[in-house]
Amino acid sequence: MDATPAPAVDRFRAALESLEVAVTQTTPGEFERTLRAVASEPAVGTRLPFPDVSLPEWVDDDPTPASLEAATTGVTAGSLGIADYGTVVLPARDDGSEQVSLFPDLHVAVLRRGDLVADMPTAVERLGPQLRSGASAILATGPSATADMGALVKGAHGPKDVHVIVLEDETTADGHDGEEVTADE
């Protein structure tokens, strides 16, 4: 009998861990506390389109070029996560989510656990209709990096660090599917 593949969230975490990217699993109720522990101020963000979760007031949710430049943390939502790669799909929306995920030194990507898909073909299939209706998205995997200066350096033009927050359903967090939920920081 084949071994049962590891749950998507475990593979997602493992892929990001190999890139030294931290992943924190949390609940909507604990989201602000988790974000506080992860982010530094000044922080900018764009709307998180998830029920029961919103940006705390210490995150500037209506960024301008000036606040973008001043920020050390950018918080944006991911629409999908790809377990095989540790990739977060970042929609590039008219509220500036692309810039917020790109300019500050730390990018905090917020993702619902239910939006994790197993592999690349599944993710691209989901993206097809969106791109055909004019949307843009970035498949982001870990921080910006370059080896052009003779050794691997993080933060070439984009973020030096990425932290992914995975939101559990409250029901999942109660242990309905039997998986342990841990916040690692």
Binding site: R93, L131, A140, P143, G150, A151, G158
Partner: protein
């Protein structure tokens, strides 16, 4: 040395000394990364075939897809311009810049923009053009050309970049570490991007159904380039179009793994321009992004520049499937030693670049470096879209041979060399291409031919006229050929007593020069109960093919098939010692023989150790073979590895009780005639040095060196000053080695 050969040798020597070390470290890292990364994929071969068929289909339907892209992008609010050539594309881009009154264009890395030389065109109009990819920026500051299609400054070490930046920018504190250099560049470029009027990118793929550009990057500069200014110009060859978004999936999985050995790069941008992301206007710093009403301008400039003609060319068409991942360059032994600057070309360098240069810049540009492909075929396995890159190199070489008008020695050579080529063929190529004839003459007149060939004045003459490097020992011809020996001796296992009958293919080298390995193969096969025959079969055509003499190789293929067809029909197995000849039967003959003939010969032919392995698996009795002999250091042959056959040699040797260590370099560097050519001798030795190093460690230096290929054994002997044998000689029942 002729002037041309001397100039080439000097150029190569210079690069070996200056850029070689950095290129070697980087390409070996990428190449190993590729092996490691694709090993994690369960369905690597399936993905490659999928990618291949998407590109085949897309190029087939290109005219229709071009129309579809135009409609989609225009419906999205962008503009599409199909440029006939570089001048046409540059004219259009200059107009865009002038309409926008642009003072600065920031660019992300794009080889297509290098092909256009658009920077020069814009700068002539007074536009400041800034490369934002860190590697490209280094080259812009240094005023140098890329040496690699993905990592353009691969030839520069950290120390060199630090010297460059410190002298060019004179920072308060001298820059030293990679971290300091990167942060310095980030800051400088960040400022330049802020004030940019136009962002220019390339595109790795364009989807016809959505008008989406896929950009594969790691630094984030392409993201900034596309999103900060209000005008985005994307330049891309027409071959970048695929039908749908869903077609991108296999390429996303393959491109990073194949190129730099990353499972995926940091960013795969899927931009459907004009993008919804607001413009970043630092002159209006306090207006919220959400409150902006931007009217972004997007221009997709699609470049023909010879590509549509390549699509009509049966031989060059495959080049258009290339996704420019750089796997072919990274896996190339010669590229690993000298990098793209030795491979010349106006824009593209290494591996598949021959096809690109021939198609977009013409044959003169491709000619500069076409010789550097030795046909080792390691790139074929590495290519994520399964392009037969050595074949493209061979075709271009053939076309160059035919175009060359210098036929000075024609009258003399037409007598001596019965090839099928036109008069203009280069003397050196003609000599090596007709090696079989030379070997026959050498054998008949041996040992006198060997004495004569060994005389200093003769070597010197050979070097001056045909460019055979006098530092290379020449192979010595045997007076008694393998076939003569076998005819006199006769088969020792009668057909009536044998389970199997095999034809041992008397390749040129085994028949005339290294007769010993042929005799060993006969004894091994007979020890395993096989009835052996060695009929008169001509050379496979490998030698002429390697010189680009396709017509001569084609005729050889027909004659080989004619000589072997009856044996194949009689159910006899064709056993081949020399991997480069077996690769002819199993790969190149597909292009030279009718399909059915190719399939029959290909199916009936075996690598000698593959055959021995099969016999042993089918309960042949190994007791007569030499077992538990000396510890071995084994180098398999490049083409043998591409065919996936090297494993049989190690399996048989280990089953027979041998302790075997294997090399893991791509190629020994000799590659048939390549290492004999005076203009390439030093490069050949440098490529070989990686192999020599592996066989000179504490663990390997006392082992007996064995190699499957003729030229590999020659190269190993030259490099190590140790004897090198074919492994069949080790298990020969009469073996006394070690």
């Amino acid at each position: 040395m002729s002037d041309a050969r001397e100039t080439k040798a000097d150029h190569i020597r210079h690069l070996l000394e200056t850029e070689g070390p950095a290129v070697e470290a980087n390409t070996l890292g990428f190449n190993q990364g590729r092996y490691d990364s694709v090993a994690d994929l369960e369905d690597y071969e399936t993905l490659k075939s999928e990618a291949r068929s998407i590109k085949e289909d897309a190029i087939e339907r290109l005219p229709e897809l071009l129309e579809a892209v135009r409609e989609t992008v225009e419906a999205n609010g962008g503009t599409v311009y199909l440029a006939d050539d570089a001048a046409d594309a540059n004219r259009y881009i200059r107009n865009v810049a002038s309409e926008q009154a642009a003072e600065r264009v920031v660019k992300s890395k794009s080889m297509t923009s290098e092909e256009l030389e658009v920077n020069d065109a814009l700068e002539a109009d007074g536009v400041d053009v800034v490369e934002t990819d860190l590697g490209e920026w280094v080259l812009q500051v240094a005023d140098e050309a890329p040496s690699h299609i993905v990592a353009p400054a691969i030839h520069k070490s950290r120390e060199e970049i630090a010297r460059l930046f410190n002298s060019e920018f004179d920072p308060d504190e001298p820059l030293e570490t990679a971290e300091e250099l990167t942060m310095f560049a980030r800051e400088q470029l960040g400022e330049l991007i802020r004030e940019a009027d136009i962002g220019m990118t390339g595109a790795n793929f364009i989807t016809a159904d959505s008008g989406t550009l896929m950009l594969v990057t790691s630094e984030g500069n392409a993201r900034k380039t596309a999103v900060v200014p209000d005008t985005h110009v994307a330049v891309a060859g027409v071959e970048k179009i695929v039908p749908t978004v869903e077609d991108l999936a296999p390429f996303i999985e393959l491109i990073g793994r194949s190129g730099t050995g990353q499972d995926i790069t940091s960013y795969i941008s899927l931009l459907t321009p004009p993008v919804e992301s607001p413009v970043v206007d630092f002159d209006d710093p306090d207006t919220a992004f959400a409150d902006r009403e931007d009217d972004r301008d997007f221009h997709l400039v699609l470049i023909d520049n010879g590509r549509l003609a390549m699509r009509e060319d049966d031989q060059l068409r495959e080049t258009l499937y290339c996704i420019r991942c750089s796997a072919c360059a990274n896996t190339c032994g010669n590229f690993q030693s000298v990098g793209g600057h030795a491979f010349g070309g106006e824009t593209y360098s290494g591996g598949i670049a021959t096809g690109w240069e021939a198609g977009v810049h013409g044959y003169d540009s491709a000619a500069e470096f076409n010789d550097l492909c030795t046909g080792c075929s390691r790139c074929v396995e590495a290519c994520p879209v399964e392009i037969d890159i050595p074949w493209i190199n061979t075709v271009v070489r053939d076309r160059l041979n035919r175009a060359d008008a210098n036929g000075q020695f024609e009258f003399l050579y037409d007598e001596l060399v019965p090839d099928e080529e036109s008069g203009g063929l280069d003397l050196q190529k003609r000599l090596f291409g007709n090696y079989e004839t030379l070997a026959k003459l050498g054998s008949v007149s041996a040992p006198v031919s060997n004495w004569v060939a060994g005389l200093e004045p003769v070597r010197s003459l050979m070097e001056r006229t045909v460019g055979i490097d006098s530092r290379r020992p020449l192979p010595e011809f045997e007076r008694e050929t393998l076939r003569t020996w076998f005819d006199n001796r006769g088969a020792r296992v009668p057909a009536a007593d044998a389970d199997r009958e095999a034809v041992l293919y008397p390749d040129t080298y085994t028949n005339y020069i290294d007769v010993a390995r042929g005799k060993a193969a006969v004894r091994v096969l007979e020890a395993l109960g096989v009835h052996v025959r060695i009929p008169d079969v001509p050379g496979s055509g490998r030698a002429p093919l390697s010189q680009g003499m396709i017509q001569t190789a084609d005729n050889k293929a027909s004659r080989v098939y004619a000589a072997l067809a009856e044996h194949v029909d009689a159910g006899r197995d064709i056993v081949v010692i020399e991997p480069s000849d077996l690769a002819m039967f199993q790969s190149e003959y597909e292009k030279l023989l009718p399909e059915r003939s190719f399939e029959r010969l290909s199916k009936a032919s075996y690598d000698v150790f593959e055959y021995v392995y099969g016999l042993l698996e089918n309960d042949a009795d190994p007791t007569a073979l030499r077992r538990d002999g000396p510890a071995l250091a084994y180098h398999s042959h490049c083409q043998q590895r591409t065919l996936g056959l090297e494993q049989y040699t190690t399996a048989v040797l280990r089953d027979l009780g041998y302790d075997v260590t294997e090399s893991d370099v791509e190629c020994c560097g000799m590659a048939g005639s390549f290492g004999y050519k005076e203009q390439y001798y030093e490069l050949s030795m440098d490529v070989g040095s990686r192999l020599a190093e592996q066989f000179s460690t504490d663990e390997t230096r006392d082992r007996l060196v064995v190699a499957s290929g003729t030229s590999c054994t020659d190269q190993l002997e030259d490099l190590l000053r140790r004897d090198a044998l074919h492994p069949i000689e080790v298990i020969d029942p009469r073996s006394r080695v070690g």
